[in-house]
Symmetry: D2
């Protein structure tokens, strides 16, 4: 029996919001499974809990999924059992530590049009409502995922042909959805009309690729063509490639957190180099919140780029003050109670020679609950830092995300519970500065195309279905008890 | 990644028909998962490819399934994660060697009445038809199993309440179905009105048990109460126990092969001791096909009892002429080509001291394709037997089973391809005698209550749905090319 | 990490003495590793806890060992990494439930003559003494096994050449030792001058085989040539085959328990068919201890043959009264406390239809502690047997074995603790009869060539080294407290 | 069976020399095994192929070892089976991809003084000679490791008492050896008189700790006390702590590569902050090899600190131009042939936005063969860099190491094959500058205390034993064919 022990929350919980997954698809490649393996491998940072690939050989669609990293789930033997020219793959960050692989994707089902596999990045706000309606009409669900809802909608469509059925289904969902479908001989990609989650189109040789981020194309020596457009349904099959604009929104709402934290800096998302946007955030942060200090350090690796931007504009020297342990394993043993800073030390160790007697600016990309940051500050002080000035390269996260990011309830968000002055005290820093929302907007090229709801609570799609109980709304937005 | 390599057909293929599974359920036991573990353990002979248990704790239903023996799939850690008072479990003999556990049972799904788990022993003859209809109306299927069809029918029922919905569903299916359902707080057992597959009711302490065979009760020191009746739906829940007779057939058609081969001799099935019926078959066989010989041997272990019956009536001495290797592993390496009798030798070794220069009566319970028997006869001769007289303790298997037993197509059945005289020659034996159908009937208590379609082609339920293609019917009953 | 959980003693402890291992070797076969795999597979009954194969390709000697059955430890990939023409393999029954594989064999070491692998069946009575002497002279030991002692003796020999060194070493050891050695290009077999443990020579094609039992040759379609003679050292290498008689004893002392219990009935050991000797024991037992009864049953599978012998002479009908579960797994969960007969029920289930209201003769091959038998008798009675007459097809085991069999200390042996009348009462049977020692001797061909020390305490080799502490002697032979 | 597939050389082979292992020991801690687990965890960067812990509880010494990361080899269940107050642990970087764990450490053996475990970091230059002598005198070896030689020497010592025996043994070895020994109740640490490899002493609560680097102490909230002195034997046992100076060398020869590459920057080794020495190297490199450029980038993560030092002195801006994938798995699938830069891309992806049209200074810590660097340069150019100036923060590695570092033969070392000008061309860079040896010496505090033989061929201990064949010497120093 294969047991999968998930890392305890305190160890993986580096107090960032979490992306729910990575998508990769390919059509027209003799080694579709291997290609997808490498694509998922390059996108491993978007999800580490489970991985899966479904491959079509023109007649059949086969799927393998498992718990763990893509390189743990797949080996030569498994890939050899997945022949075919079309594939979709998925890495999942799971919030549920469960026995078994029931929630791993791609999902694969049979309906009257044959077998279909689907991989999803995002979150549907009306999934509960749709599900409730379909259950009352006799549908049965094998998972709790939004993704299964899409398949049920398609299966129940009165239109004929798999593409038409999917189009019908996609017209009914609301929320965030970058989706990849595979049949035995077709690859179908869709991005919701708000464009919440990224999805990029690439080519290598005669093959078509689709991926959450362009760094997957780089590994494969493939060329980035363009983003899948918000509202676009792209069908690639034996008959060629066909793009349909299913819907349009007056404005698109791309997730600005991709630039702040999720995407790899070597990727291009939403048409923009992540590295460049992220550095601009650091620079703007330095303009908004300068401080007299000796060194600037980052919380590696996600805030390295922003920290260097801050250092450059502020003129304060960039140093490596924290060493990150990259060997954090899957099964882990709880430490002795009483080792105070253990949880954070397992991940980061301060460089005493860099920090001692220095006035330190610590740049991080975001704060969610603040618990890890509090320990980290204590760790930096224990290494001898004379002052700790915390600078966050994004505005305060004060509202939960409903579009595919795993955030805690509002009452657990540090910034929803107290004003900045109280946060400063709570975190134990000498000063605290957040990038302003206007400042952030100035760092990306088309600021009007971004969703910033986690900062301003301005939700572009009503996060609650019409029949949603008021109770749920209240729970999500419970008045944070300690708010000043 | 856990890879599961199924044994190659030639090794597990001991040329018997194969039972598709074992069922075990419990209600009202503080350790429902452990109890089910032991129940499945005692029923391991009915299926070795996968095992699963779903457990309800009054609020939630949790499930764990995996490839392999029950003692491989479950350990203390896994059982500890399955608390609850109600459980259903399943051992599967799978005909499909596939990567992953998608076909393992119990199936667990969500519908408007909540979460429900199901385990199935049998085969529905109208599953394809029902499935086709429901797919055309928008249902999606995650497996190829008949079992999922039952759940869809229930989910689509217009009745309310889980029991009513199931009753509605069960009224639509045709064929062989012993079924166990669990919700978070209920155990539901059903046996089709023909009663094809066994299902027994037991008690231990205050708990209710249901099992495919009574040997599962023995291991748990539980008491056998009675069989679930053909057509009976038994619901055990917080409100107590309730039995509903959903349907009645003028005659029941219990699978006579349970007595011939499937069930353990220490079990009681269909109200009769298996051991007793099986010994009677051997005795009757001796009366019908006596022979002058020195010893009677069995093909261990399934024909031991019949062979002893034969020995007793014939007066020929019973001996152990074949030693069976019980350590046949899951992953196995193909032998050198050229070791002629290897496939059968891995499983059986002849005892030369017993066989040499002896006239040997070999008693086996049945012959399907005849390939293994041919090798076994050669092996017995190579050990020095001067004559080999084969006696089969059941009639010739000349028709495929459509009620839950895995048999090959008609054209592969030895008895469908040639008359007994030709079989004798083909198998290389000095004489061959099959128990007559009338003789077999005389060995069980209520012969009118048994299905004997694999012997006489007299199918109590039309094995093909009304909309079934004629092609399929023709394929199943293809004129055997070599039939005399 | 691969954890190996050994079955709890109560489950594997079927109250038999335990053989410590199986040996298999081959020289001159293009697929030496595969051949050894199959040889070990046929000898799996002699040891199930670990398995290993060392293979030489003329230049190098490679080894793979692991916990579990041979089919679990080896697969195609592993065998493919073990090319070569010479191999030795070993199955171990381990009395030590330890983490890791340190005690698995073959041992493989480097000395001045190169790399050498060794597999051992037996027990040296002067191992402690030799070890103590060599440790005091600076040798280091990596295991607690006797086997390592042999290698140290060889390495310290002043003679030159691997064969001469081994001969020197073997002249110093006392006790039971069937040994197989492999170098990169040689197979060497040795059997101690008393011939305690079996070792047989075979051939297939141009290859030489050596195995603990001839059933391994049968599986490989190989021919049994003769036994390795007591005191013989057989060397097979590029220069051909050479046999040296290293030592002679006036009498040989082959382990009579091989015929009683250990060997497979289809094997030939010590030049005699096991099946035949075992049946004779049953017949003689019937002559010595007749009883008026309805049926004779065996404790399957080890006493089947003896039980049939008993039935034949006594005229009482042989029946199958106990069904054995062959699916006992490696990891097992403890039952509910309070299930009285659970431990034995997991392994055996009584056939009620056979036993009820019958006077039953139960034939078993031996009793060690008696704990399992006590439960089994209770189980048979609970199935309705009106009388239970226990017949043991060997004399009372009253003395521990020092020649390679795992027996408990004298004070735990039932027959050392009480006379037969008290045993009868303790076991709860209506009558109890053991085969007499003279009776047993009459069942084998050359009775003077057998060791019977476990029955009569007449140890052919002093089990304690000269410097052995008196304390140890006293402990082994502690006066059994309850002896009448 | 647990198979361990090692990563292919091309993937782990990042063209650095490789440290052979990490040591950690503890005495007087109630949870010695857990403490050692965490110590090894913090030292994972020094060896990832196997891990092991031996623990003494005052009476017995138990050991568990396995292939993989420490968090893969150990879990709660395994640690629970290792009770005790004293422990030694080891992480190994193995150069041998072998089936099984025979080479994993700690080694554990029995000798006349009882059971002893040993873990070793280093390489003995006279191991072959000592081994040859002891084999000729009758010792047997179970591994090819130098470490076993130490144990044999101790076992053969005529002195009495474990400490005396070890001291005797240690006086005979020559070369690099930081060693940790454990008995059931003692921890013994030793560092060779040249002090080649690091070994630090720490304390937490009442417990004594010993570790390869101080970062292990940090994770455990322990205090660094001092380094184990070259030639010191430290014994910690129930009788207290005792330090003996076994030998003295006129000069110590600590491995300067610990500062250049091996040690974590947050560690203190040889009494000096690694981070500080490493930054100085970068600064000095900038002074010696300035260049007009737009940005400085590092090859992450090992050269980050040096690159920042270079940036600071040169005034050229530090940027992150390469993103490292930290999810490289253990089992990996070879890519399509034809993906040119694949091998290096799997590990690094260039940030196009940073590199395009820029004159780039690439700082790396060292070059061994040059193969990876050549691909990396090509990758950086393909991302649009207009110029690539390579700066190496250490002198050319032109001689193999014989003191515990895994380097290729001299003829494979890029710097032994050609002068700098030719290297520049071979690597395809616009300019190439190495730190001078004098410059490097100026970066550490006591330059006279360091071994620099890999740069200057000045070996402080003759790397070949007196009886060593001349052939081996010639092979090691084969005239590099392409040397100008």
């Amino acid at each position: 029996m294969a047991k999968t022990l998930l890392p305890s929350a305190s160890l993986r919980g580096d107090d960032h919001p979490h992306e729910e997954c990575a998508l990769f698809g390919v059509f027209g490649h003799a080694k579709a499974a291997e290609t997808t393996f490498y694509g998922l491998y390059a996108l491993q940072h978007r999800g580490q809990e489970s991985s899966g690939i479904a491959v079509g050989d023109g007649k059949e669609l086969r799927c393998h999924r498992g718990m763990g990293l893509v390189a743990e789930v797949f080996d030569r033997d498994v890939l050899a059992q997945l022949p075919g020219q079309v594939a979709v793959g998925h890495n999942r960050y799971s919030t549920y530590g469960s026995v078994g692989v029931a929630n791993a994707q791609p999902l694969i089902v049979n309906c009257r049009e044959g077998t279909i596999a689907v991989a999803h990045n995002g979150n549907l706000v009306n999934a509960g409502e749709l599900r409730h309606r379909m259950e009352s009409e006799g549908s049965i669900f094998q998972s709790n995922s939004d993704t299964e809802v899409v398949l049920h909608l398609a299966a129940r469509s009165r239109r004929s042909g798999i593409v038409e059925m999917l189009a019908d289904a996609l017209s009914q969902i609301r929320g965030a959805a970058s989706l990849l479908f595979a049949t035995a001989d077709r690859l179908i990609a869709y991005r919701d009309p708000h464009g919440f989650r990224p999805l990029a189109l690439g080519r290598v040789g005669g093959a078509t690729l689709v991926a959450s981020e362009t760094c997957a194309f780089d590994l494969l020596d493939a060329t980035f063509v363009r983003d899948i457009r918000p509202g676009e349904l792209l069908v690639v099959g034996p008959e060629g490639e066909k793009s349909v604009q299913l819907a349009n929104e007056p404005r698109v709402h791309q997730c600005i957190f991709e630039h702040i934290y999720f995407a790899r800096p070597d990727s291009k998302v939403f048409g923009e180099n992540v590295d460049r946007a992220r550095r601009r955030c650091g620079k703007q942060l330095a303009r908004e919140h300068p401080v007299v200090a000796d060194i600037v350090i980052s919380v590696p690796d996600s805030s390295n780029t922003a920290a260097m931007g801050y250092a450059r504009v502020s003129g304060v020297r960039y140093e490596i003050g924290l060493i990150r342990n990259h060997y954090i394993g899957r099964t882990f043993i709880d430490p002795e109670p009483g080792m105070r800073s253990f949880g954070v030390r397992v991940k980061f160790n301060p460089v005493v020679g860099v920090l001692r007697a220095r006035r330190v600016v610590v740049v991080d990309d975001s704060i969610v609950r603040g618990t890890t940051m509090r320990k980290l500050v204590r760790l930096i002080r224990s290494a001898g830092a004379s002052e700790v000035h915390l600078r966050i390269a994004s505005p305060p996260v004060a509202w939960p995300c409903f579009y595919g990011i795993d955030t805690p309830a509002r009452e657990e968000l540090l910034a929803a519970r107290m004003p900045v002055a109280a946060m400063r005290e709570s975190l134990g820093v000498d000063s605290l500065g957040y990038l302003s929302l206007d400042g952030l907007r100035a760092c990306v090229e088309d600021p009007q195309n971004y969703c910033t709801s986690c900062f301003d609570g301005d939700y572009p799609v009503d996060p609650f279905g019409e029949h949603e109980q008021e109770a749920r709304r209240r729970a999500a937005f419970a008045p944070a008890p300690e708010t000043a």
